[in-house]
Subunit: 340 residues, 2 copies
C-alpha cells in the first residue's frame, strides 16, 4: 500500500508536508505543493481513511438503516437521504434490516464498530429500544424515521399516520362503504398502532361499528406466508366492501389473494392503502393511497442528523426535534362508488 511516507520520500519532503497538501492546511509553497501532487498522481496515492479516522475520531460516513429494501417507500426515502448527505460532504452507506430485530442488532454492531458519524434509523419496532439505547450509550447521533419507539427521546421524522388512516376511511365512507376491513402491520410498530386508531376513529365518527373480525394484524415486511391472510379473508362473513391496508406491501398482497379467488378490484372489492407505490403507482388498478412524502422523510431526516453532528460539543444541547409530515390522499381508481 502506498502511504504518505512513500510520497514524502519520493518528493524529498516530510510526511507532514504531504499531509498538508492533501488537506489544504497550513502554508505550502506552490513549488513543493506541485511536486507532492505530481508524486501522488504517479503513485496513485489514496489516503487511508482508516488511519485518518483513527486519529480524527470521525469518519465522514453516515448510515441509513431501512427495514425493507424492496419497498418503494424506503428506496425513495433512501434517495432523499443520499441527496442530503452528499450536499453536506458526507458519504452514505445503507443497511437493510428486513423488519428483523436480529438483523437490526447485527447492523447496530456494524455501525458501532465502523464508527460512523451518525445514523438514520427506521426501527423494526418497539423492541428496537435496546438497539437505540446502545447507540445512545456510545454517543452515536441518530434520527428515527417513520416509527416512534417508546422509551427513547430523539430527533424524529414521522408521517401523520392517524390522520392519514382516518382520511382513507372517511373517503371510503363518503363513497357509500359501510363494511370496511383493515389489514395492518404489527402492533409493536407505532405507525401501525396509529393507523389502526385512525381507522377506528374514522368509523366511530361516522357511527359505524368496529368489528374486530374485520381487523387483521400481520407484518409490514416481506411476507413469506399468506395462508393466514387467506384464512382471514375467508372468515369474514359478510365480506367487507372495502379494505384499508396499513401499507403498500399489504395492499399488493391482499389484492393478489383477492384476485386468486375471483374477487376483482375495484368491482368486487375496494382497496386503499398507506404509502405510494413509486414507479408502480400507475399500474392497474391505480391504487388510491395516502401517500407519504418518502423523499422528504429521508432528506429532512438527514438534515436533522447532520445538524446534530455539527453541533456536537456545543454548550447547550438542542431540544429534540420532531417533524410530522402529512400524508397526501391521492385518488385513483381502486375504490368503487357505492353511493351512486
Amino acid at each position: 500500500m502506498v502511504t504518505i511516507y512513500d510520497i514524502a520520500a519520493k518528493a524529498n519532503v516530510s510526511a507532514m508536508t504531504v499531509s498538508r497538501v492533501i488537506n489544504n492546511t497550513g502554508k505550502i509553497s506552490e513549488k513543493t505543493r506541485a511536486k507532492v501532487r505530481r508524486v501522488m498522481e504517479e503513485l496513485n496515492y489514496v489516503p487511508n481513511q482508516t488511519a485518518r479516522s483513527l486519529v480524527l475520531q470521525q469518519t465522514k460516513l453516515l448510515f441509513l438503516l431501512i427495514t425493507d429494501i424492496m419497498n418503494p417507500f424506503y428506496t425513495t426515502l433512501a434517495r432523499g437521504a443520499e441527496d442530503a448527505a452528499k450536499k453536506s460532504g458526507y458519504r452514505l452507506l445503507f443497511g437493510n434490516s428486513d423488519e428483523s430485530l436480529e438483523k437490526e442488532a447485527d447492523y447496530v454492531t456494524t455501525i458501532l464498530t465502523a464508527r460512523v458519524d451518525g445514523v438514520l434509523v427506521a426501527p423494526a419496532g418497539d423492541p428496537s429500544l435496546p438497539h437505540l439505547e446502545s447507540l445512545r450509550r456510545h454517543h452515536v447521533p441518530f434520527v428515527l424515521l417513520d416509527r416512534e419507539v417508546p422509551g427513547i427521546e430523539c430527533d424524529i421524522v414521522l408521517g401523520d399516520s392517524k390522520d392519514g388512516a382516518r382520511r382513507l376511511v372517511e373517503y371510503l365512507i363518503e363513497r357509500g362503504h359501510r363494511r370496511i376491513a383493515m389489514v395492518n402491520g404489527s402492533s409493536s410498530i407505532s405507525s401501525a398502532r396509529l393507523r389502526l386508531q385512525g381507522y377506528q376513529e374514522g368509523l366511530k365518527l361516522n357511527d359505524l361499528p368496529c368489528d374486530e373480525r374485520y381487523v387483521y394484524e400481520t407484518s409490514f415486511g416481506p411476507l413469506k406466508d399468506l395462508t393466514e391472510m387467506e384464512q382471514w379473508i375467508e372468515r369474514m362473513d359478510p365480506l367487507p366492501t372495502a379494505i384499508v391496508a396499513g401499507n403498500n406491501v399489504l395492499a399488493i398482497e391482499a389484492m393478489k389473494l383477492l384476485r386468486d379467488r375471483g374477487i376483482g378490484v375495484p368491482d368486487d372489492m375496494s382497496i386503499v392503502c398507506f404509502d405510494d407505490l413509486g414507479p408502480y403507482s400507475e399500474s392497474e388498478p391505480f391504487l388510491t393511497v395516502a401517500a407519504q412524502q418518502a423523499y422528504q422523510f429521508g432528506y429532512m431526516g438527514m438534515q436533522m442528523l447532520i445538524e446534530r453532528i455539527d453541533e456536537r460539543g456545543a454548550a447547550a444541547a438542542l431540544p429534540w426535534k420532531k417533524i410530522v409530515l402529512p400524508a397526501d390522499l391521492i385518488i385513483r381508481r381502486s375504490v368503487k362508488d357505492l353511493a351512486q
Copy 2:
C-alpha cells in the same frame, strides 16, 4: 470512548490479554477470561474496527454498488448478495450510483478510502472502465454484475441478454406480431447492446425487416424526461403492434405514455420486457417478461467475490470466472394474440 486499555486497567491485566479474550486467540485462563468479559460488559465495550482494520489490513467489509435502488431487479439482487455475505461472516454495505458515472466515481473513492475487502459492482456502462482499473490498481478484488466492460478481465455474473431478447421477439412473432419496436438502454452498456442484437436476430430469423425508426435508445435508469420517448412514439407510423422494452423501468414508463394517449395494453399495444417487477409483477397488465434470476446474480456474485478474497495470496491466481444465467420467459397477459 472505552478502549482496550480501560478494560485492561479495570481488570488488572494487560491490553494484550484483553485483545486475546476478544479474539479468542492464544491461551487464557478461564478466570482471567471471565474477569475480562465481565469488565467489557460493564463498560459496554465495543472494539474499534477502525483501529483493528489499520493493523490487520482488512475490514471484513464488502461493498455492493448498484445502479438503481428503485429497480426491483437490483433490490432483489441486493438481498441475494446480503444473504451470501452474511453466511461467510462479512458485513455488507450498499451504494447507489443511479446510472451516473459521476456518482460511481464518488463511490469508488469511498470504497478505496474505506479499505473494504471487496466489491460487487453493477457498472454504469463501458465508461466505467477507469473506475474498475482504479480498483484493480489498488488491489481491491471485485466481481462485475449484469454488465461487461470491454477492456477489463474479471469475475462476472451475466444474464443471457441476447438469448432472452430473441425469445421475447419470437414469442411476439408467434402471436402474429410483425411490427415490433424496441425501447432500450444506452448502447454504452453491454447488456443493452446484446438485447438489441437479440431483438434484431429474432426479427431476421423470421425474415422481418429491422426498421431503425422502431428502435429508440435512452437510459435504463430513473428517467427524468419522457418527452423524447413520447416523440418517438408519435413518430412511428404505422405504430408497431408490440414493444420490447430493454428493462422493466422502460416498460413501465412506456406503458404510462401509451395509456396517456389512450393506447391500452394489451388491447391496442403489446408489451414485453427484460427483468421481472418484484412485488409488482402481478399488477395489471401482468407483464410478460424475460425474468432474470436477480437473487442469484447477487448470491453467486458474492460467493465468487469471497472466494477470490479468501484465495488472495495463493501461489497461482485462479482463472477469471464467468457465470451466465439464463432468463426465464414468464408468460402473463401483456401480449395480444393477433394470430387467432
